[in-house]
Amino acid sequence: MKIKFLLGEKKKKMKQSAAFGIIAVLVSAMLLASLPAASAKLYGDANGDGIINMQDVTYVKLIIFGKKSANDYADTNQDGKINVGDVIQIKLIILEKVPFGRVVIPIGAFSKGTGSVFMKGNILNIGRAPTASIAYEGLVTKTRGGGYDGWLAESWEVSGDAKVWTFHLVKNAKWHDGEPFTSEDVIFTHDYLKSKKLWLSSVLSRVDHIECPDDYTAVFYMKTSYPVFTDSLSHTPGIAIIPKHLWKSIDDPENYVDEEFIGTGPFKLVNKIPEQYVKLEANGNYHGDKPQVREVVFKVITSKDSQILALKSGEVDVVNDISPVIADSLEGTKDIEVYPLPDTKGYEVGFNIKNYPSNIKAFRKAMAHAIDREKICNIVFGGYARPTYTTFLMPSVAHDFVDQDTPKYDYDLAETKRLLKSAEFSDTDGDGILEGPDGKDVTITIPVGGTAAAASGIDNKIAAILKNDWKELGIEVTIKQVDTQQWKKEVHKNPVFIVGMPYLMHDDPDDLAQFGSKAFFEKANWYDYDNPEYDKLIKEERSTADREERKEIGYKMQEILANDVPTVPICSADTMIAYRSDRFVGWEDIYPLYWDADMKILMEIKSAAIR
């Protein structure tokens, strides 16, 4: 008995020590693993003052002469030795002759934007390839002013009927592996996409064939007139030119995982750690202006909150598309600058023409007066948005394509009430809810969760404001949250919906084709808008090459839209970006095509350490 007791005691002790053991292991693992966090390395900053200037040159010289002890950062060219080569390197950095610094950019796990292409198979697999890839280029790239900059094409011209597009290519471009870029690659890209029947080839569906009179000219022959061909080539998705010498041997692009991503772009892939980091470096042989940053690292940080923390702690150098609330909270933080990228997205209230009560034109016109744009700009966008009154095209990006003379629908509830009354909407049974001409209560469900408006629940907030305001008018609004893809079905079942689209969908009369009767998959558009006269204008617009004529046709289309009111513009909103001003400067100097640090931005920024 006694022995048994002792044994029990021993076991109890063992149990206790096991518990202590587990705790001890946990604690020691914590301590052991809490290695110091790696700070950003500034090779060239030999004296460690955070700035690269002539003092560092002096310091490295002192190290060489043995007057100062060596350190890692003095080894500017990172060859493992500290010698006169490092002195030259620092001088080149100061003179801005060599790219310098490593910029770290966070990307979300679900990102389709810049950098994420390297995580997803191959370049033909992503929708925004040329600009967002930073390693590949297209022929041209779109500018904010509505024009185009040459990329792999130096210059280009179009025939009067917009059926023949001639691109003169740059002569000194090389693929990252050293092979020269020629017009063969352009033909190959077109033929490859089409012969493999890749979905991307739909961008080129109107191209009949390409001819190359010489190595640096590519002539695109269209099946039909195509005045906005450069627009399709340059973005969403756009066409990136791929190297013939590598891709000709790839038979199955759908299931091909590219390890090298050989392009012609200003940055080339160095290596990556799947789902975590992608590292690119400046392409020394780039045919255009050389980038000023030496390395670009994309880091996967899934949640926006974590991205902001990483920005604060200095792990990343920029965070894109932050909410107004976070933008305001970051304001005044040391070494962090916040700036708005103006007018990146346009928002509208859409009406479905087939559903009651928005099938009544007078109702649509009445409700167009019941949208408090100022309130939406202030509450939903924290002031980082401006009301728009013109139809669909955004004045800040479509410029003179916008017809300023179309009828405007100001916020005027008295007018709404008058129009509703004259359209026989009135509260006949006195329950506080309007009855329509058919005697039924006017109740509206607004589906939210679709298009770009769904990002950070913006459409939900806009709908909430409408709900609140329209209640006063006697209209019951219910908000229905759906999935993005479900939303596309819901718009056909409900009278009102919220649309948000990037500015690139609001900048050319061609974008007005979205109201064509068979605009979507040969199916009805979201608005179920169907106007034969309008469809005729779309055809006309698409076969006209002259800018002025297209503008005139666009004006006619806007007039029809303004009168039929399938859509009411709300505002154009900004995208907020926060960056570390102690690391890189120049972010605010350029307007990117996409608002996650795209190629245009990365070509513009330079290290803040160089003085």
């Binding site: 693993a33 198979g121 029947k197 080839s201 995982v257 975590q276 923390l309 604060k312």
Partner: protein, 325 residues
């Protein structure tokens, strides 16, 4: 007798598997939208050709019945297709992600089961004491707060303010030059493991404590005490063994759930696991990948249940094979 039971169980498991993959197939094909609409929404809206080309490429334009039989045929031939997004075989990507998921979920599941059972048994035995009540309240507190809040707070305190741990990810940026260092991975894994453990202890603790409370009132415990056995032995030999029975299913299911990952924790810690993959695949309508993920999950859960069923045979002699039916 046992063989018959096992064969019966096996047959039912197979039936369950077959039915669930058929349901999965139908539900996934009923989902509105497709990958092209996710990838290039505006192109897909205005250019019907993009979507047509895409559907043709992956055989999605065939009649649904035909697709179903092709799918069933392929599943049993080990051909699970390629992910639309990653362009790699579905099984390869799942196994890669499973690896990362297990790095955080294996330790946390093990720890939470051990700690949860230990605490549940301990305080269930001594229910009603001050210690028991305070622990119970703490557990309710832990459980009541969602896991992502704990995750954010732990990152904020230990990662941001004390700078003891990285803010997220599984490896430091230096790995780009130096390669993957496993000590570094461990360093990154500690906070997620800790959060997961913290958040799953209460569930196991509750069940164990309740099970123990029920056992304590049983006649055989009183008998054991009346025999003059020591409390320790009554607990260990009589109470614990019986109280553990309901835990078997719980443990096997916990283990099965490991592979589905933890979406919140993975999102907040930027940990590239299966939970995140599933969520992403749903958003992107990555059809074949989704089918693969659900197939794996179904398979694991069915196997886990099968194992639980079999283990009861040995653990609980009261279960008489074949007589219940």
């Amino acid at each position: 007798m046992y063989a018959e039971y096992i064969i019966k169980r096996f047959f039912y498991s197979f039936l369950a598997f077959f039915i669930s993959i058929s349901i999965t197939f139908s539900i996934l094909h009923l989902m509105p939208g497709d990958y092209i609409h996710y990838l290039a929404p505006y192109l897909a809206e205005v250019n019907p050709e993009a979507s047509e080309l895409f559907r043709h490429q992956f055989g999605l334009d065939k009649p649904i019945i035909e697709q179903y039989f092709i799918y069933i045929y392929n599943v049993f031939h080990g051909n699970w297709g390629y992910s639309f997004q990653y362009r790699v075989p579905v099984l390869k990507i799942i196994s890669e992600k499973l690896y990362w998921t297990l790095i955080i979920l294996l330790p946390s599941t093990f720890l939470s089961i051990v700690i949860g059972i230990f605490m549940g048994a301990h305080f269930g035995w001594r229910s009603g004491t001050k210690k028991d009540l305070s622990v119970l309240n703490v557990m309710i507190f832990i459980r009541a707060i969602p896991s992502y809040w704990w995750a954010i707070m732990l990152i904020l305190v230990f990662g941001f303010y004390f700078n003891l741990f990285p803010l997220g990810g599984f490896i430091s940026i230096s790995a780009l030059e130096l390669g993957i260092n496993y000590l570094d991975v461990l360093h990154h894994a500690i906070l997620p493991i800790f959060t997961l453990t913290l958040c799953s202890i209460p569930g196991i603790y509750y069940l164990m404590r309740n099970s123990m409370l029920l056992t304590v009132g049983e006649d055989y415990i009183i008998t054991a005490r009346a025999k003059g056995l020591e409390e320790r032995n009554v607990l260990r030999k009589h109470a614990l063994k019986n109280a553990m029975l309901p835990m078997i299913t719980m443990i096997t299911l916990e283990c099965a759930h490991m592979i589905t990952g933890s979406i919140f924790i993975e999102t907040i810690f930027s940990w590239p696991g299966l939970g995140l993959l599933t969520f992403n695949a749903i958003l992107a309508r990555d059809l074949f990948l989704l089918q693969g993920i659900f197939l794996i999950c179904t398979l694991i859960i069915i196997i886990a249940n099968f194992i639980a069923d079999l283990s009861y045979l040995y653990i609980d002699p009261r279960i008489k094979v074949g007589e219940s039916a």
